[in-house]
Symmetry: C2
Subunit: 303 residues, 2 copies
Amino acid sequence: MQRIVECVANFSEGRRTEVVGEIVAAISATDGVAVLGWESDVDHNRSVVTFAGEPAAVVEAGFTGIQVAAALIDMDRHSGQHPRIGAADVVPFVPLYNVSMDDCVRLARELGARVGKELRIPVFLYGEAALRDRYKRLAYIRRGGYERLRECIRSRDDRRPDYGPRFLSSAGACAIGARDILIAFNVYLSTDDVAVARRIARAVRESSGGLPHLMALGLLVKGSAQVSMNLTNYRITSIHRALEAVRQEAHALGVAVQATELIGLAPKAALAATAASYVQIDNFSLDRVLEIQLAHRFGLDVE
Amino acid sequence: MQRIVECVANFSEGRRTEVVGEIVAAISATDGVAVLGWESDVDHNRSVVTFAGEPAAVVEAGFTGIQVAAALIDMDRHSGQHPRIGAADVVPFVPLYNVSMDDCVRLARELGARVGKELRIPVFLYGEAALRDRYKRLAYIRRGGYERLRECIRSRDDRRPDYGPRFLSSAGACAIGARDILIAFNVYLSTDDVAVARRIARAVRESSGGLPHLMALGLLVKGSAQVSMNLTNYRITSIHRALEAVRQEAHALGVAVQATELIGLAPKAALAATAASYVQIDNFSLDRVLEIQLAHRFGLDVE
C-alpha cells in the first residue's frame, strides 16, 4: 500500500539561488522523495520547497534540508519581509494519501527530536503536533522573529523549545509541525504603501475578526504592498471569498488588486470551486471535469 | 493499448424522463461503454448524453441510442426552444485518448452509413466528417429545423442527406460528425425578453463578427432569456472571455447575468484557466494542482 506524506518546508533564503539550489538538490537526492515544486521570493528573502513521498523518506529529506540550510544560512545576516526564526524556518507534514494526521504528528515529533539532538537546533512543535497549546499557532512562536527569540529563549519559559538546546546558533530555531493542506495565496495592491496592506490584512484575517480559517499579513514585496494569506480551510474560506474580501477592503481604501500569486500547490477542488463561483455556474461538480471522469471510468491519467 | 473516443449525443426529448431514461439505459448497456453524464432541459426539450469507451463500442452505443430515440420520439409532436432536425439530433465523435480526428471521421461515416441503411434515417455528416463543405456547419444543416427539412429534403439538392432515404419519417434526420472537445455553456439573464438574449448572442458569436470559435443563440429557458453558447476552441475563446463578453453586452442593455450552467463536461485546463483569470493569478500552471502532481509523480488517482 502506497503512503504519501507531503512536506512544505520554508527556508530563510530567497536571494542566493545557489543556496536554494543546494537545499533543493539535497532534498530531491533522497530516495523515494519527489520535489513537487519550489519557489523563492527576493523580498520575503524566503523559499518554499514542496516535496512528498513515503513517510520515512520525507522525514529523511526534511532532516537533510534542515541540515543544509543550517550550514549555509546565517540568521545574523538575514533580513526579509516575512517573519522567521531560523534558517529552516517552518517544516510542516501534511497527510496526503493513506496517511493520517496522527501519523504526521508522529513524523513531526520524530524529526523534531532528531533535529534537536543531532543538529543542536531548538525545535518548536506547532500546529497539530504542538505539545503546548500556545505553540499551536505559528504566529505565537514567530513573534519578534529570530532576533527576539535569541534574547529570550533562555530566560522565558513561554519560549522554551520542545527539543534541542535553549540557545540559538546562527541557524536559529525551527518550527516543525503537522497540518492539513493549506493554500498560500498573495495579493498585490496598486500601492507601495505597506500600511494599506497591513490594514487590509487586519480586516480580513480571522485573528482580528475577519474570515474564518484565514491568516493574513501586510508586506512590501517587489515594490508593491502585498496581502500575504494562508487559507487553512479552503472549503470554508475559499480563494474567491478571500480575494473578494481583500478586493472590497482595497476598494474602500482607494486601491486596486494588481495581481495575485499562488505559492506551492492547491487542490483542484479549490480551483474548480473558484472557477465555478466567478462564472456563477449553478450546476457545477467535479464530475463535470473530463479528466476526472476518464480517471474514474477508465483509470486513465490524461494530463 | 487502450483507446477512448467520446460521443456527445443530443436527443430531442427533455420532458418525458422515462424516454430519456430508456435511451440512457440502452447506451449504458453496451459493453465497454461508460455514460459520463447526461442532462435534460425542459424548455429546450432536449437531452445531452455523454458517453465514452473503445471506438467500436461507442459506435455500437451510438447506433443503439439513435434506434431507441427514433422509436420513442415523434418529431411531428416535438416542440422546443432549440433548433433540431431529428429524434437523435446530433451525434458527434470526439477523440480523447489514442484516437485521432481521422479515426473519429471514420467512425462517424461508419455509423452514418449504418443508420441510413438499417434505420432508414437520413444522415448528414457534419463537422470534420462532412463530405460537403456546406455541411461542415451544423447551423446550415439545421436551419428551418425538422419542419423545413421535411418540406425540402427531396426537392433541394443542397439538403440532400449523405446516407439514408431522401424523406423524413417522424424520427426526422440525424447529423453525425466528428469534432474536437467543445464546452457547452449557457448564461441566464435577468430578463424574460428573448430579444435581449438574441441581440447579445449576435454580438458575441463569431458568425456575426464576435469572438472566434464561439457559437451563440438567444433562447427562452425556465422563464429567463438565455444565451446558449458553444466554445469550440476554449484555448482561444475561454469560458471567462465568453462570459465577460456576454456580461458587457448585457450591461449595455441594462440586464445582468443571473446564473450560468455547464452542459456536459469541460477539460480541467479550461476550468483552471478560468479560475486563474478571475483571480488574476500571474504564476499559474497545472503543475500547481496538487492532484496532477500526485498523478504524475506517484501514479496516484486521488479524487
